[in-house]
């Protein structure tokens, strides 16, 4: 493949977004907001296949010589991330068209702009460019978070913008410090520099700190479970698939490239990771709303994913990357299933929902399989993802071995118990008697008696069903997926091909 085509991953969604601002046709809106991410998924799979032979593809924008230009670099890790996030985005976009949220002016354009930023962040090989693409991703998100959901979104939108702008400023300061200390912000030129020169090490640590806040690592996780549930389920699923994952990808990439091994502050990372897992899974107990509970589970997921980096071996990194794939798909399925329930019955509170296991049998089955995956019980990808992390912890030896195995097991049991509360609140119990229909003006009407014939439609539950089936397929085909994760981990450990491709 011609590496110059890599820029299409950014250009295509941006052009489509611009087109949809000018052309106002609902049919075109729907076709492009589902079609473009689907196209990118296909391109991502093609790219993954391409990387079997050529490990790294790089293109310097404008054909400037390497080192001066802005490079777009693709390897197995970034191609894998693009494929999985685009696939989840496609399904979420389809869900948004089914709930009728695509009728909001600019929502299709904003969502496509978000996709462009995400793909750019995965492909860029330059720290300042990473900052720019993260901003391209965040600016549409600021608007998206205030567009749909309950009225609380307006207050929460402020929190989201303030936290992210402050974090972006810290990221910018970090990039500036890297430039001052190393004289370059090109990742290929920064290889190993943070390990050799403590000044570069400090500067890179500031960049990683900013990304850690954006990922939601304890003790800076507080904004995530407050901000996300205030939007609608579709937008939350979109954010959960891309936002924290871009930050996590950045942490994986920058940490392993610049330090070429473990950082001197690796024990601090280990403590933060353990705290994130425990806080995330225990805080799930305190919530009475489905998506709020799931937001805390997202925090726990961030901890699990970073565990691979904290242990830092080929197998551990592969286990972390595999967990990331599992987490994106499973969380997408859970959020979209919750969204289908909320869209139909007008609430996500445990005490306002009841007896859905009798009313909507198939949605209950979908939700049950997704919850099994979240907890880590077979048959689900979560099972292999947790086994991988346990195996990696066991290989680490020393105190890490005992601490991490205990933390993972305790968190899994806590998740199981908290999710049983959700299950008995929403799916068991007496027959539901009233619900809140969607208002013509937007928002929800007052409570009215629930008609007998009202059920969650197939159109609403099919996106969740697709993602849950996908993670079951991943469970069956785990033998084929794990080598890809191992190759992605190799990209982070063997940096020679990366440097050669970029600086050539």
């Amino acid at each position: 493949m011609n590496p110059a085509l890599l820029s299409l991953f950014v250009v295509l969604p941006l052009t489509a977004a611009a087109l949809l601002v000018v052309l106002r046709r609902p049919a075109l809106d729907r076709a492009l907001m589902v079609g473009i991410p689907a196209l990118i998924t296909a391109a991502g799979i093609y790219l993954l296949n391409e990387h079997r032979e050529t490990p790294v593809l790089a293109h310097n924008i404008g054909a400037f010589p390497g080192g001066v230009s802005i490079p777009l670099v693709s390897d197995t890790f970034s191609a894998l991330m693009i494929t999985v996030t685009s696939l989840t985005t496609t399904v979420t976009m389809f869900f948004l068209t089914r709930t009728g949220e695509d009728r909001f002016r600019f929502l299709p354009s904003l969502a496509l702009m978000l996709t462009a930023g995400v793909n750019g962040a995965f492909l860029t090989g330059d720290l300042f460019n990473l900052f720019v693409f993260v901003e391209v991703m965040l600016l549409p998100s600021y608007a998206l978070i205030t567009l749909t959901g309950t009225w609380r979104r307006l207050g929460i939108g402020r929190l989201f913008v303030v936290v992210n702008l402050l974090t972006s400023t810290i990221l910018l300061i970090g990039v500036g410090l890297v430039y001052a200390a190393a004289g370059t912000v090109n990742l290929a030129e920064l290889v190993g520099m943070a390990g050799e020169d403590p000044r570069v090490g400090y500067a890179v640590s500031v960049v990683l700190l900013a990304l850690a806040i954006k990922a939601g690592v304890a003790p800076t996780h507080g904004w995530l479970p407050r901000a996300y549930p205030a939007t609608s389920a579709g937008i939350m699923a979109l954010f959960s698939a891309v936002h924290t994952k871009v930050a996590l990808y950045g942490i994986y990439r920058i940490y392993s490239t610049t330090y070429e091994g473990e950082a001197p502050w690796a024990p601090i990372l280990a403590i933060a990771v353990a705290a994130t897992i425990l806080i995330g899974s225990y805080s799930t107990f305190g919530e009475h709303i489905m998506r709020r509970a799931l937001a805390w589970q997202m925090v726990a997921g961030v901890g699990h994913i970073l565990l691979g980096l904290a242990l830092f071996s080929q197998f551990a990194l592969a286990a972390g990357i595999f967990y990331m794939i599992h987490h994106i798909v499973t969380m997408g399925g859970l959020l979209l299933a919750s969204g289908a329930i909320e869209q139909t019955y007008g609430s996500g509170r445990y005490e306002r929902l009841a007896g859905l296991a009798r009313r909507d049998k198939w949605v209950a089955v979908i939700y049950a399989f997704a919850l099994l995956s979240l907890v880590g019980l077979p048959p689900s990808t979560g099972f292999f993802a947790k086994i991988g992390l346990l195996q990696a912890s066991a290989d680490a030896g020393g105190w890490e071995q005992w601490v991490f195995i205990t933390v993972i097991c305790v968190a899994a049991v806590a998740t199981l118990l908290a999710m049983q509360r959700l299950w008995s609140g929403v799916f068991w119990g007496p027959t539901m008697e009233n619900y809140r229909p969607e208002s013509q003006r937007g928002g929800r009407e007052r409570r009215v008696p629930l008609p007998r014939g009202l059920h969650i439609t197939w159109q609403l539950s099919s996106p969740a069903a697709f993602l849950v089936t996908l993670q079951l397929v991943f469970f069956v085909l785990a033998g084929a997926l794990i080598p890809i994760a191992l190759r992605a981990a190799d990209d982070l450990l063997v940096l020679q091909p990366y440097v050669e491709a970029v600086l050539g």
Partner: protein
């Protein structure tokens, strides 16, 4: 020393304003901090006076480093856009001290 002191004062003032309650003060605080970040980016080049970095006009040895200037330019554009958006959010939406619902034209049963 002037630049580091300016950056320090700006960050201190920004942090003080961010921990206040009102949204408008928080926005001013963020504006101060992003100014500090821009100045910090400028210091990553050489902070002494240099010629304009234009090819065929200034010799390379006296020209300024163009990269930090490009960084600052990008950062200013982004911060300006977000500041305007945040000011909009400060106008609409509810007062954070009360529980009054804002008028969004939608109907919400609590």
């Amino acid at each position: 020393m002037i630049l580091p002191i300016t950056i320090g004062v700006l960050v201190a003032g920004g942090v003080f304003l961010i921990v206040q309650r009102g949204m408008v003060r928080i926005i001013f605080g963020l504006a101060l901090i992003s100014h500090a970040a821009n100045l910090l980016l400028l210091t990553t080049g050489v902070s002494a006076y240099r010629g304009e970095p234009l090819a065929n006009r200034t010799a390379v040895d006296v020209a300024a480093d163009p990269l930090p200037q490009a960084f600052v330019l990008t950062a200013i554009v982004i911060t300006l856009a977000v500041t305007i958006f945040m000011l909009t959010l400060a106008v609409i939406g509810h007062n954070d001290d009360t529980k009054h619902m804002p008028h969004t034209g939608e109907f919400h049963d609590r």
